[in-house]
């Protein structure tokens, strides 16, 4: 057989054989295979996309958490500050109150003392008046009897007075 002249028989069988191979493979192999490959590629694509989505969502969530945390921290700080302020105010108030109360008490005590003092003075005055009257009475009585004796008596009274 010739090397460069195609023989009719081989062309015929080659045509039939190759076309049969082509149609069998298209129907039973290439179509399902290419479809499966495409499906797999889409599913991988989708998986990658959803992973990306999950990652961004995760990042968002984290950012939100951080924001919440920061807000909470801020709030805590404000609350603490307020509590601090109010406690300081309370202490201040209490101090003022007690100072006032103390002053009031001192005032009252002073008033009482004043009253007592006045009463005591009044008492002393009365007693002094009484004593003076008694001394005067006794003096008057003795003075009338003797001079010398008068003097002694006065001294005596005076001494008595001191003792009293």
């Amino acid at each position: 057989m010739d090397l460069i002249l195609p023989s009719s028989g081989l062309v015929f069988w080659q045509l039939i054989g190759f076309l049969a191979l082509l149609f069998i493979l298209i129907k039973f192999a290439w179509k399902p295979m290419l479809a499966a490959l495409e499906e797999r590629e889409t599913s991988i694509d989708n998986a990658l996309k959803s992973a990306e989505l999950a990652r961004t969502e995760m990042a968002n969530l984290k950012a939100e958490n951080e924001k919440l945390l920061a807000e909470a921290r801020l709030e805590r700080d404000t609350i603490l500050k307020k509590a601090h302020e109010s406690s300081a105010k309370m202490i201040e108030d209490a101090k003022q109150e007690s100072l006032k109360a103390g002053a009031q008490m001192i005032e009252n005590a002073k008033a009482v003392i004043e009253t007592e003092k006045k009463a005591a003075l009044a008492d002393v005055k009365t007693q002094v008046a009484t004593l003076t009257l008694e001394v005067a009475e006794k003096l008057l009585r003795k003075n009338l009897s003797e001079d010398k004796a008068q003097k002694e008596l006065v001294d005596e009274f005076v001494k008595d007075l001191k003792l009293n």
Partner: protein, 322 residues
């Protein structure tokens, strides 16, 4: 192809020995042990308008001892001449549909491709989109390569409907090339009838898919002044045919030449009848066989790639230049 046979042919006529191996034949000759030829007789099928379809056995047409074909061994009005051509004694016309060595080889290649690809496809039927296993892990990378690197890049957005044809082409040529390298195998993809058939199929596929731009480019090449069209149009029309012609010749030459080189080194052993030449030749044959493994793949790739590029030029939407 080839090792192990033929002291007779090789010793006396290296050209005949080589040609015997790369050409088609009506019987499959495996080896000659002493004077016994180990062959597989093949069917001879002829059709003539007066006698209808007739079936014979190739061994009907030869000397049973020497297995030589010749006009003197005519059988029922037909004979096979010494060049392995079927002839008719009365000279009337007929068509030869014989199952020759290459036809058997082609069925073998088709069977192997079917087995390989269908068992790969079975994986997808059973496991859907799961990762490939077994035959699928061999076939899938090639499928993806042909689809993405050859079809998509050469054809463009409309590549999808051409992928099955390109894949079939690639697997048929690749397996054919590889099997052709086996000792005793037929030179299927190095046969011009095979490459011509494939090229014609590509030619038909390209031209029935040619769009307006493609035909306009052929018959009214844009940007060329009218007088020049007289020259350009015939050249473009010839170009339609040279493309598949180049496909046909490229594969045929690449595979046949490889076989000739290997056979020539083997023939050297019989010419020189020397051990040292035998050792060197065997080393060279091994080396060239390795190159041929590469060539087998490259040629399958190139045939598929050029087919894709021709399809690409037929379906491309261009508004331009060139």
């Amino acid at each position: 192809m080839a090792a192990g046979s033929e002291t007779e042919e090789g010793g006396e006529d290296p050209t005949g020995f080589i040609m015997h191996h790369i050409k088609d034949s009506h019987e499959w000759h495996f080896a000659t042990i002493g004077h016994t030829h180990v062959t597989l007789p093949l069917p001879v099928i002829v059709y003539s308008s007066d006698r209808g379809l007739e079936f014979f056995k190739s061994s009907d047409f030869q000397n049973h001892e020497t297995h030589v074909f010749g006009e003197e061994y005519a059988h029922e009005g037909y004979y096979i001449d010494s060049h392995d051509h079927v002839g008719r004694v009365d000279g009337a016309s007929f068509i030869d549909f014989s199952i020759t060595k290459n036809v058997v080889m082609m069925f073998l290649v088709i069977a192997i491709v079917l087995w390989l690809v269908l068992s790969a496809a079975a994986h997808y039927r059973r496991h859907g989109t799961a990762a490939p296993k077994g035959a699928a892990s061999l076939v899938e990378p090639i499928v993806v390569f042909v689809r993405d690197e050859i079809a998509h890049k050469s054809i463009g957005p409309k590549y999808k409907k051409f992928v099955p044809y390109l894949l079939t082409l690639f697997f048929f040529i690749w397996v054919g090339n590889l099997l052709g390298l086996l000792p005793g195998a037929a030179n299927l993809t190095g046969n011009i009838a095979v490459t011509a058939t494939l090229a014609v199929l590509t030619f038909i596929l390209v031209n029935i898919n040619g769009n307006k731009d493609y035909w306009k480019h052929v018959f009214m090449t844009p940007g060329v002044p009218l007088p020049l069209l007289l020259v350009i149009v015939p050249v473009e029309i010839i170009g339609l045919f040279t493309k598949p012609f180049a496909l046909m010749v490229r594969l045929f030459v690449a595979i046949t030449a490889g076989h000739i080189v290997i056979l020539a080194f083997i023939a050297l052993i019989f010419i020189f009848q020397s051990y040292s030449i035998g050792v060197v030749s065997t080393l060279m044959v091994t080396f060239i066989n390795m190159i041929e493994l590469l060539v087998a793949t490259i040629q399958a790739y190139v045939f598929t790639l050029f087919t894709a590029m021709y399809i690409g030029s037929a379906v491309a939407e261009h508004h331009d230049d060139h």
